[in-house]
């Protein structure tokens, strides 16, 4: 500890670190380790039993696949929304800017019900899809729609300030050097916003993995097809199978942690390349 302190001119290192550890323990570590302790009562064989059950694996596939798809969609369209909000001015821009945050504020169950109604085969939007024999509500596609809705603000809000920070001059410099619009985006703008975009993607992805409220209304919750892992956990809880529920939760947690860690590593690696 002493050698950390020797290099720092900022006061209060011990206090700040102590507080951080305490806070982090109370809020994150203790609840999560409780999860692991509860799971441990199952024993290793019991855990493997739960974790390798066909229904759990299917639900994990659905959860991670739909979350990933939604995060990718959000990364792409969120970037466009952020771009428009930063680069152009138009009447009602402030209003659109405020609307972006709405998915944060809306109770997710409400979002789920609204989306399920809209995208049902006889709903306002669903009927057009139904005409082409595409079912949105009560399928994994519906889950993607709901997850895209709740994840939108993450990408917009992380990319927006970084994009605003890319000086117009840098783009002008590129243009005067003969770069076309595509080259300017590919070689100048994208590398600058890439780390932020990745952060937004990771946040939207993580949020989607844990999402419960909006999904259960639109998913149809058919085992093996459109049943998400959080629902399975709730189902176990309702059957008073607490250890089984925590076992699935632990499994989910480990996968999520590994994914987020690798995204962080990717980000660290990419920002090292563009050391600033």
């Amino acid at each position: 500890m002493a050698q950390f302190r020797a290099h720092s001119v900022l006061p209060g290192f011990n206090l700040a670190l102590g507080f951080t550890l305490l806070y982090f323990s109370l809020i994150v570590l203790i609840p999560l380790s409780a999860l692991f302790f509860k799971t441990a009562t199952l024993g290793w064989d019991g855990f493997v039993d739960v974790a390798s059950s066909e229904r759990v694996l299917a639900s994990l596939r659905v959860t991670f696949f739909t979350s990933f798809a939604a995060a990718v969609i959000n990364a792409f369209f969120g970037l466009i929304v952020a771009w428009v909000l930063v680069r152009y001015s138009f009447p009602g821009k402030k209003l659109v800017d405020a609307l972006v945050d709405l998915p944060f504020a809306l109770p997710t169950a409400v979002a789920g019900i609204v989306l399920a109604t809209l995208y049902a085969p006889n709903g306002w939007l669903g009927q057009y899809f139904a005409a082409y024999d595409i079912k949105v509500a009560y399928t994994p596609l519906g889950i993607v729609v709901a997850l895209t809705f709740i994840g939108l603000p993450f990408v917009v809000r992380t990319v927006q300030p970084v994009l605003a920070d890319v000086e117009a001059e840098v783009e002008e410099a590129a243009a005067s050097l003969g770069a076309g619009r595509l080259d300017v985006f590919r070689r100048v703008i994208f590398p600058a916003i890439y780390p932020a975009l990745l952060t937004g993607f990771a946040l939207a992805f993580a949020r989607a993995i844990g999402e419960y409220g909006s999904v259960i209304f639109i998913a149809g919750n058919m085992p093996y097809i459109s049943e998400i892992t959080p629902l399975l956990i709730v189902a176990k809880l309702e059957q008073y199978d607490y250890a089984g529920a925590t076992a699935i939760a632990v499994l989910m947690l480990l996968i999520s942690f590994a994914l987020l860690l690798s995204i962080n590593a990717l980000q660290w690696w990419s920002s090292r390349r563009g050391a600033r």
């Binding site: 005067s176 770069a179 590398p191």
Partner: protein, 337 residues
């Protein structure tokens, strides 16, 4: 490449940024656009570079109207005040950028790009930082890299927007001289914007003085300093004392509402009255500043302070101290009504 600008106008809403600009930039010359901030000099530069579009008027390069051409088709090198380097790229990649984005047919090979970039980095005396990132360089180094980047595409015209504005005084002076030398080597038609009169006078072949979106005067540095065309130029370039005809009619040599402009170093100061044009006054402050001696004289009968500069020799020949009663007399007066 000569540039000629005819009847150029540009407005931003109600603000007239450029008002009927006519200007000729000769091939191979280094021209300075000089003026206070907000006078339209940067707007003019950006229009030449294709980063802004004029409302009306012609912009001819070698007799060809390029007003409708996009910035990237103009083959113009642009250097920005705040460098505008690509911060996620190394210095080498920054300079190579213009070559890498060329259409496939015109794009040089990797070996050729390496050769040219290395050559440019040697030209700006920074070949040893090729692998660093812009954030690891000082301001002066960054600006030289920005210049190398602009030169990489072999521009026909080089435009510099307050290139030394963000640098400290010492570096600015060095870079100024260096830019002048570089221009003497390369002879690219160059236009640079500055609000620093000393910079314009020291570096440029010709100076364009602008104010409120209009050209006040075009001439060699010596011309704009010695024979200013308007009161504005007089005041903007160098220090000047103003004498109103109501008070000092002997100096303005005419009646009516006229103002005489006299440079501080064009005033003689003496303890004895030379002739009846001389004004009596009292020295409020006299101080030697390096090679020159500055004095402030309060003219009798008015509360104005007159600034006077005299040489050391002159001062040593007739030493003066605060509170001395003296007579001042102009050697050169310019009267504007």
């Amino acid at each position: 490449m000569s540039i000629s600008i005819e009847n150029l106008n540009k407005r931003f809403g109600d603000h007239v940024a450029l008002n009927d600009i006519n200007l000729e930039v000769k091939s191979g010359e280094l021209l300075a656009l000089l003026g206070p901030s907000g006078c339209g000099k940067t707007t003019l530069l950006r229009i030449i570079g294709g980063l802004d579009v004029a409302d009306s008027g012609k912009l001819l390069v070698n007799g060809l109207d390029i007003a409708q051409r996009d910035a990237r088709e103009r083959n113009v090198g642009f250097v920005f005040q705040h460098y505008a380097l690509f911060r996620h790229m190394t210095v080498f990649e920054n300079v190579a950028f213009g070559l890498r984005v060329k259409p496939r047919k015109e794009r040089p090979s990797d070996a050729e790009i390496k050769r040219r970039v290395t050559h440019l980095l040697q030209l700006v005396q920074l070949d040893w930082v090729a692998d660093r990132f812009p954030s690891q360089l000082s301001g002066g180094q960054r600006q030289r890299i920005a210049l190398a980047r602009a030169l990489a595409v072999e521009p026909k015209i080089l435009l510099l927007d307050e290139p030394f504005g963000a640098l400290d005084a010492k570096v600015r002076k060095e870079l100024r001289r260096w830019l002048r030398q570089l221009h003497d080597e390369l002879h690219i038609t160059s236009v640079f914007v500055t609000h620093d009169q000393e910079e314009a006078l020291e570096v440029a072949d010709r100076v364009v003085v602008m104010n409120h979106g209009k050209v006040e005067q075009i001439g060699s540095p010596d011309e704009v300093y010695a024979t200013p065309a308007s009161p504005f130029v007089y005041q903007f370039i160098g220090n000047v004392n103003l004498f109103h005809s109501r008070i000092h009619s002997a100096w303005t040599e005419q009646h009516g509402d006229a103002v005489a402009y006299v440079r501080p170093h064009d005033i003689d100061i003496s303890h004895t009255q030379q002739d009846n044009e001389a004004l009596a006054g009292e020295i409020k402050l006299i101080r030697a500043v390096g090679a020159i001696v500055r004095a402030e004289v309060a003219v009798a009968g008015s509360d104005e302070l007159v600034e006077i500069e005299l040489s050391r020799e002159r001062f040593d020949a007739e030493p003066m101290v605060n509170g001395d009663r003296v007579f001042i007399r102009p050697r050169q007066v310019r009267v504007f009504e």
